[in-house]
């Protein structure tokens, strides 16, 4: 395995585009985790039973760990992480609630549940 890594490192250095893509990918991972956390939060609006609430805490925790891992990898890749926004589910609460409301109506494939279309709500 060692020679392969030995070869990979200079290739990565020689291909800045790939490195940028990696950084973008990792930043997207952090953002997706924010969306997932907003969705987990919105799912809990109507059910606060102990097992479900605890389960949501654990799911949210897993997303935070995912963000932490992505940031650590980004730092290891030499990415500029200043634009990464971990722990920012608040920006996606509005679309998450819209989706949860549709799902409560039984509309499980609502367009508002397509996370890739969710946009960040700007701070007032």
């Amino acid at each position: 395995m060692k020679p392969a890594i030995f070869l990979l490192v200079p290739i990565m250095c020689a291909l800045p585009v790939v490195a940028e893509e990696r950084c973008q990918y990792l930043e997207d991972q952090v953002d997706q985790a924010n969306k997932a956390m907003a969705s987990i939060f919105a799912d809990g609006i109507t059910d606060n039973s102990a097992p479900r609430e605890t389960n949501r805490q654990i799911k949210e925790l897993n997303q935070k760990i995912k963000q932490q891992t992505a940031i650590q990898l980004a730092i290891a890749e030499g990415c500029d992480t200043s634009s990464f926004l971990p722990n920012d589910m608040g920006s996606y609460i509005t679309p998450a609630l819209e989706c949860a409301t549709e799902q409560l109506k039984g509309n499980y494939k609502a367009a508002s549940c397509e996370m890739s279309n969710w946009t960040r709500s700007e701070e007032e």
Binding site: A50, E53, T54, L61, P86, N87
Partner: protein, 260 residues
């Protein structure tokens, strides 16, 4: 194949069946765990018939009825008789709870078994040895820790900050949760268990406390906190309706957030 040998005196044998009270029409059968280390031998299940018209309404009333009218040697702990002191926790009909607030109406039909809290050494009959449980509670330092000099009158807290303590401060340390947790059964010497961790979170989240980092450091190892696998027995059994598993998840959040 692994050969396991059960510890000495671990098999519960059939015990004595006490006579039915004379003239009673509303009888109920209770099977109660009896063990007296001074007598040696194995623990046993003694059978008692209780006149439910005379015994009161709670399981603690039944135990007192038995002690006062049938068998004065039966040993159990109790103090407040109103769900405040946590002394009377035991396993009733297969579920940990406190005897003084457990009414008959909540119980299944048929014979009711009553045994000490599981997984702890037994001092006698329904009295578990909670030395380890209390040591774990002490380990989380359940008191305010501050560096700033104490104010003249009191440490103040906003209403919102005080609200954070709801669902945590009400714990009566009955040990029902910890002793219902399979992870605690297995690693009770190293895993702090739901009750101690609920208290750990109660102080971690207290806006007046100034030892958050130190408190988190004290929980940072593979066992003390991370043996919780969200099995949720703790929340199921807590007689005060608390949710230690959620408090534990919140501590794990704090652990992640302080690294980020």
């Amino acid at each position: 194949m692994v050969q396991l040998t059960l510890p000495k005196n671990s098999t519960v044998r059939k015990g004595k069946t006490w006579p039915k009270p004379q003239g009673a029409t509303n009888l109920r059968q209770f099977r109660i765990y009896r063990y007296n280390p001074e007598e040696g031998g194995n623990p046993r299940w003694d059978t008692y018939w209780v006149d439910m018209d005379k015994a009161g309404t709670m399981i603690l009333d039944v135990l007192l009825y038995i002690k006062n009218n049938i068998d004065p040697t039966l040993a159990f702990r109790r103090s407040c008789r109103e769900g405040v002191c946590g002394s009377c926790a035991m396993n009733i009909a297969g579920r940990n709870t406190i005897a003084c607030t457990k009414g008959f109406d909540d119980l299944p039909k048929g014979v009711i078994t009553i045994s000490p809290l599981p997984s702890q050494p037994v001092v006698r009959d329904l009295i578990p040895d909670l030395t380890n449980f209390y040591a774990q509670h002490a380990y989380v330092q359940p008191y305010l820790k501050t560096d700033t000099p104490a104010p003249e009158k009191e440490w103040k807290q906003s209403e919102a900050d005080r609200e954070e303590l709801n669902g945590l401060y009400e714990c009566i340390l009955c040990a029902s949760c910890s002793t219902s947790c399979p992870s605690y059964w297995w690693n009770g010497d190293k895993y702090l268990g739901p009750a101690a961790l609920l208290q750990a979170y109660r102080w971690l989240i207290d806006s007046r406390d100034e030892a958050t980092g130190e408190r988190l450091d004290d929980l940072e190892d593979p066992f003390k906190l991370y043996r919780c696998h969200t099995i949720m027995n703790c929340a199921q059994v807590c007689p005060k309706g608390l949710n230690p598993a959620k408090a534990i998840a919140k501590i794990k959040h704090m652990m992640v957030e302080r690294v980020s």
